[in-house]
């Protein structure tokens, strides 16, 4: 008894969980069974700490076809018989240990989550966070992660169309790599990971099972420490070519109508994919491990069940259709083996030839995991006091401040990154990376998909509730800026050790903020991923919620873009001007201060801004649009000019629009709910009236003019100079990846 309990503990099971399992089984579980429970009850698989908190997310909506938790990914109806499937997943720990393969297999995993639902993946995005780009270790991580993401997506033939890359010392040693995939399908082809029908055969398809990645799920649930390097076998090597074959074969199988259930073997491999498929369908399952194709000699049942070898799928095929299924597997040169059957009842029986390796109730394995009500302790929020604010030296040269921000890696152009990704394959990418959101046309319809992937680390560290609000609001605004109607979100929540009450409080408050924003903005949560234990010897990383939001443009011809269009167009600013510089890039880059208060958020106004943009885009009144975010108005103006294909500049007019605010807050404050628009002069009045009808303040602040940004007696920079700084920031630090 003692010995088994020790094993249980080393596998991450608490004494309480062990006693419960033994009680239900009426006997002591064997080592294989303990391993299965250990991994299924791990934080990664069971959401033991996060489940009670995530309940506050709004998961209802008329467009939702699959609710959060019901499938591998969220599914929403976008009309015309089409549905979108999308999800985010993190691969932080593997990427820290082996950046190229860690990031690559992260992309591979999220792609499988999407095509197992029956959708063809059409876009990849990612949110990347690293330490200071000046450090050689960070540079190595950036090269590895970007290379790995590119490798997997490029070979798969799925365009990587957007995302974000942020640098902050908090991520030194613990980078965040969150990958998002979006797929599209005919709504009627929706496939679930739900085993059904007694006697239906269970197929194992894809790569062989090896010892690689053993215990990855529990690996992801531990702090990143020096010991992680010794865990090196926990990192797997990705094979995107094999996954491309799996993708094509699986979609063909679904079209042929032979599939009952399909699930990726991701975290916790075979044990998770079999038991969760059975649990979802309320059935049992019997499998034989001897039939599982292996690449290593002498693997134990424990190892076969828990291996996390990549590029493997579990399919339940309609009985009688085995031959049709086999023909499709053969066409794609895939190894497919029938390893078991669906059975009646709640019994998960794992054979190893003629011997019983494990025999446990499906429900106990999948739903018996303990749920922890973690302790939360409020953390005081560091703010820049009024007095400190007054003492901050006012820069003499605002142009030099802008230069430094444009050259700071978080703000600067990420072209160095996204030119290593095939962002055009499948010929749908209408707005390429580098814009507020990526826009892809949906062939065969007039519609276009707008999608964004954004997070808020610093805001959340300084004020978790507002950080949560802002993560959602910023994504919403990014879609609005393109003229899209935001529909729903998925999320990736990256936090420290949840057993620390301060961390858990951050998590809770952040989720509450996100939930509130999703409710008011009517963008329900379709699913997501929680990654805890993002810590390194120096402490936890900034709590970082990532939001992946999808939206639809009903008319692909009415897409709004960032760049200024023509000399003489008027420049309008929608939204409130407030005296806010807290939590800004300006404070961080210029003064090295990471202090609040985090900008306030008015959700009804964010919603109004979204409606206004839809209205303006629909009437064709706006020529360019860009939301204000990191770096505030000055950086937004610079980006609109830099991204103007004609190099159109802007002349800001003096006048009472500044409301007497200081240039620091005016130019570099990061107040929420604001949008920079340009319009033809004759439409100025109409746009301002529309804003007022939506209850939003708006004013003209200047005119498109010349080849520079000009604010008389304050700031003057040529578009060419700014472009040089902005486009060259990565190359100056990382060297050329290519000429030009």
């Amino acid at each position: 008894m003692m010995m088994e309990q020790n094993v249980a503990q080393s596998l991450g099971l608490t004494e309480e969980a062990f006693m419960k399992i033994a009680g239900v089984l009426g006997r002591e579980p064997n080592v294989t069974e303990l391993g299965m429970f250990g991994v299924m009850y791990s934080e990664h698989c069971s959401y033991a700490s996060s489940k009670p908190v995530l309940k506050v997310f709004p998961t209802e909506g008329s467009r939702l076809l699959v609710r959060a938790g019901e499938g591998d990914a969220g599914v929403i109806d976008i009309g015309e018989g089409l549905a979108l499937v999308f999800k985010i997943e993190s691969h932080n720990h593997p990427s820290a240990v082996e950046p190229f393969q860690g990031a690559a297999t992260g992309v591979g995993g999220i792609i499988r989550d999407v095509f197992t639902m029956g959708a063809r993946p059409i876009a990849l995005l990612n949110s990347l966070r690293f330490g200071r780009l000046e450090s050689p270790r960070t540079q190595q991580l950036v090269r590895g992660v970007v290379g790995g993401i590119g490798f997997y997506g490029n070979v798969m033939g799925i365009p990587t169309v957007g995302g974000e890359v942020v640098f902050d010392e908090t991520y030194d040693g613990n980078p965040l790599v969150n990958a998002m995939c979006v797929g599209v399908m005919k709504a009627e082809e929706l496939t679930r990971a739900r085993a059904e029908g007694e006697h239906n055969p269970v197929f194992y398809v894809g790569a062989t099972t090896g010892r690689d990645g053993l215990g990855g799920a529990s690996f992801a649930s531990r702090d990143l420490s020096e010991a992680s390097s010794a865990d090196r076998p926990a990192v797997q090597v990705g094979d995107p070519f094999l996954e491309k074959l799996l993708l094509e074969a699986c979609l063909e199988l679904i079209q042929e109508g032979v599939v009952v259930s399909m699930k990726d073997m991701g975290a916790a491999g075979l044990v998770c994919s079999t038991s969760e498929s059975a649990a979802a369908g309320g059935v049992g399952m019997k499998i034989d491990l001897e039939k599982v194709p292996r690449r290593a000699q002498g693997m134990t049942p424990y190892e076969i069940l828990l291996s996390e070898s990549q590029e493997r799928m579990l399919l339940v095929i309609r009985k009688g259709e085995e031959q049709r299924a086999r023909r499709i597997f053969e066409k794609w040169d895939l190894e497919a083996v029938e390893i078991g059957r669906v059975t009646d009842g709640d019994r998960f029986l794992v054979m190893n030839g003629s011997e019983v390796a494990a025999d446990v109730p499906v429900s106990l394995l999948t739903r018996g995991a303990p749920v922890y009500e973690r302790e939360a302790r409020e953390v005081p929020q560091p703010v820049l006091s009024d007095e400190e604010r007054r003492k901050l030296p006012q820069p003499r040269d605002w142009g030099a401040v802008l230069d430094r921000l444009l050259d700071s890696p978080t703000i600067a152009s990420k072209r160095w990154v996204w030119e290593q990704y095939d962002h055009m394959v499948r010929t749908n990418t209408v707005v390429p990376p580098g814009a507020d959101a990526a826009v892809l046309r949906l062939k065969g319809t007039r519609m276009a998909l707008a999608v964004t992937c954004d997070g808020s680390g610093r805001y959340t560290a300084l004020d978790p509730y507002r950080g949560g609000l802002l993560a959602v609001a910023e994504s919403y605004r990014n879609l609005a800026a393109c003229g899209a109607e935001p529909l729903a979100i998925t999320n990736g929540l990256n936090f420290g050790n949840p057993q620390k009450p301060e961390v858990f409080w951050q998590f809770k408050r952040c989720v509450e903020g996100m939930a509130e924003a999703c409710r008011v903005l009517e963008t329900p949560v379709t699913g997501g991923n929680v990654s805890f234990y993002n810590e390194n010897p120096a402490g936890a990383v900034d709590p970082t919620p990532i939001v992946g939001m999808v939206g639809i443009l009903r008319d692909a011809d009415r897409i709004l873009t960032t760049g200024f269009k023509e000399q003489g167009d008027v420049v309008l600013l929608v939204g409130h001007l407030r005296d806010e510089i807290g939590a800004s890039e300006y404070l961080k880059v210029i003064f090295g201060r990471k202090l609040g208060p985090v900008p306030m958020v008015n959700l009804p106004e964010e919603k109004a801004l979204g409606s206004l943009m839809l209205d303006l885009a629909g009437r064709g009144l706006v020529r360019s649009s860009h939301d204000l975010s990191e770096g505030g108005l000055a950086v937004a103006l610079a980006e609109c000019a830099i991204k103007s294909s004609e190099g159109v500049g802007v002349k800001i007019e003096a006048g009472h629009w500044t409301q007497g605010l200081g240039w620091d807050a005016l130019l570099f404050g990061e107040g929420a709910g604001r949008m920079l628009l340009t319009a033809k002069q004759e439409h100025e009045k109409e746009v301002l009236e529309a804003a007022s009808r939506h209850g939003l303040p708006a004013r003209r602040i200047g005119i498109c003019h010349g080849r520079e940004i000009l604010i008389e007696r304050v700031l003057q920079r040529s578009v060419e100079e700014m472009r040089h700084l902005y486009e060259g920031a990565f190359t100056r630090r990382l060297g050329e990846t290519h000429v030009r």
């Binding site: 290379g147 033939g157 070519f241 030119e419 055009m424 394959v425 692909a556 990846t737 290519h738 030009r740």
Partner: protein
């Protein structure tokens, strides 16, 4: 006209080529699985981009031995029109239908972006609707597009005007700055001696619709359609 678009395991630009040929150009086109042999009735075979067999040995090296390639080689030898785009170009090189080989980009990274190209020979089947010396825009997306050939081969390519497209500045000059991958003599696309087989690294199918930001690539397909009709 009837196009066959050849699909190897790992091909990824087949959908894009089929869509342009059918929807944009109104031609007949169908995918041809790499295990098919004895192709008949096609006016042109297209080998699209991708990572055939993962490009695990060398780009194009394994695809070159697919069953369909026997037929492609015979078809080309009889004078049939063949276009190899990106990975398709690499396969044609491996199969010996075009001279030379591909090395990794000199930056060692995958590069996806628009490039400017100079049309060096506007008298081929595939380029007749361009003007000689015209500068056009098309995207590239590859990690191994650094064209290499020995000096005799290069001399032959130049002498017989087999170089169709070269990476060039917007003004049409051949500079190192405008050569994205380090290709010998800035070569982006070549034809065989007979002029019926074209290989190019840029993706004309991605530059065939205004909605995607450019239409210069469409004229390549239109040239072929025009040439074969007359």
């Amino acid at each position: 006209m009837k196009f066959g678009v050849i699909v190897f395991p790992g091909t990824k630009c087949d959908h894009d080529c089929l869509q342009v040929l059918r929807e944009v150009l109104g031609q007949e086109a169908r995918p041809v699985w790499h295990k098919e042999t004895g192709l008949a009735g096609f006016d042109c075979l297209v080998l699209p981009g991708g990572f055939s067999y993962g490009d695990y040995l060398r780009t194009g090296a394994i695809a070159r031995f697919s069953p369909v390639m026997e037929t492609v080689i015979q078809y080309a030898e009889r004078g049939g029109a063949v276009i190899g785009i990106c990975n398709g170009f690499q396969i044609l090189l491996e199969a010996g239908l075009l001279p030379g080989a591909m090395l990794r980009n000199r930056t060692l990274s995958f590069i996806c972006r628009d490039v400017t190209l100079r049309v060096d020979n506007a008298q081929t089947l595939f380029s007749s609707l361009y003007r000689a010396g015209e500068v056009i825009r098309m995207p590239i997306a590859h990690g191994e597009g650094n064209y290499y050939a020995d000096s005799e081969t290069l001399a032959r390519l130049l002498g017989r005007r087999q170089i169709v497209l070269r990476y060039a500045s917007p003004e049409g000059e051949l500079t190192e700055r405008d050569n994205p991958n380090g290709s010998l003599a800035s070569i982006a696309g070549i034809v065989n001696e007979r002029g019926n087989v074209l290989g190019l690294m840029p993706h004309p199918e991605r530059a065939s619709e205004a909605a995607l930001g450019g239409e210069d690539g469409r004229r390549l397909f239109e040239s072929l359609i025009h040439s074969l009709k007359t």
